[in-house]
Assembly symmetry: C3
Homo-oligomer: 137 residues x 3
């Protein structure tokens, strides 16, 4: 089963999408298999991270601000502004897709794990996630 | 086929798990397909790396010490100590899962490739890997 | 369906392989499913990135030159030269495999996304990609 979901982001930051992905798994009726989540963008990405403490999320965002700062004069590609190229770098360092095992018609995530859409652009964006659930009912 | 394996880590560092994953593939009886390995933790991760030379592993560990040092005063999230937040950063920069092709009932890895559990915490931990093998017998 | 393709690289840099992967998907006859691309090397890797503007690619390469420079005196592993260990670091920071959804017998990529083989060694290399397409015809 394949579904496309849309996420409206408020600009740069991590947005938890675990609940929305779980809904797709539940609706698929698949009890054992794999759930593949793919983001068809190059300036937003995916990451599975600690979902309990908001400070961990802020620190991770701060790490990427330091390692790939906006407006870095070393970049040539700035057609969409100072946060354009850093967004591609951040995407390359995180993930374009995540695959999670499905068991008992649910995502088999760790206790502290959440699936996050990582918006890298400063402006709000309408983002798409393509989700495929495969396996046995 | 799905299996859960447990790895006792001695603290920070890369631990090769190729043999344990291979055993699951062999036991599955699947000749052609995919083997998906998922780590349900946010302070330990997975990476496929050079497995012949131990110095490559030490250098990779040293790279992460430099890029995400313990006790960085920039971090707010320290509830579990100075190696807590760096562990989440290292996990975000490596992988939560790896998918390896199965051929002739074995992992289709390159000659120098090994699958590693990357423990990011300084203290020993009991870690879990969830493994799913799908395909044709 | 599984296929092995060979890519001759001209040395360090990103080489688009989207067309070659698409050919394998088309030939498989699979209309809905997943296409898994795996690179059995530890000094070349995969990344899905912006494919329209060449400057984005140059900037991404420049980012990795800065974050993992050749000849770094901190590295112990130099058996194959000053670009040996940085290649392993770059591989760990990008990906060993990518999984793309297949729909209508084609890769379901975003408008600006391309699949790239990222050669990390300075010398030209003959690289292999293992491709598996699974799903329904």
């Amino acid at each position: 089963m394949r579904r496309t979901i849309t996420i409206q982001t408020p600009g740069r930051g991590m947005i938890e999408v675990t609940g929305k992905v779980r809904e797709v798994v539940r609706a698929s009726g698949i009890s054992e298999g794999l759930c593949h989540v793919f983001i068809p963008h190059t300036s937003a990405s995916l990451v599975i991270q600690e979902n309990a403490d908001r400070s961990a999320r802020r620190d991770l965002e701060a790490f990427f601000e330091r390692i790939a700062p906006d407006g870095d004069p070393a970049y040539e590609h700035r057609s969409e502004g100072p946060d354009d190229m850093p967004s591609h770098v951040r995407s390359a360092l995180t993930r374009t897709s995540e695959t999670i095992i499905v068991a008992a018609n649910d995502l088999l995530l760790g206790t502290w794990q959440g699936i996050f859409l990582f918006e890298h652009r400063r402006a709000p964006h309408r983002r798409i996630l393509e989700i495929m659930v495969m396996g046995d009912r």
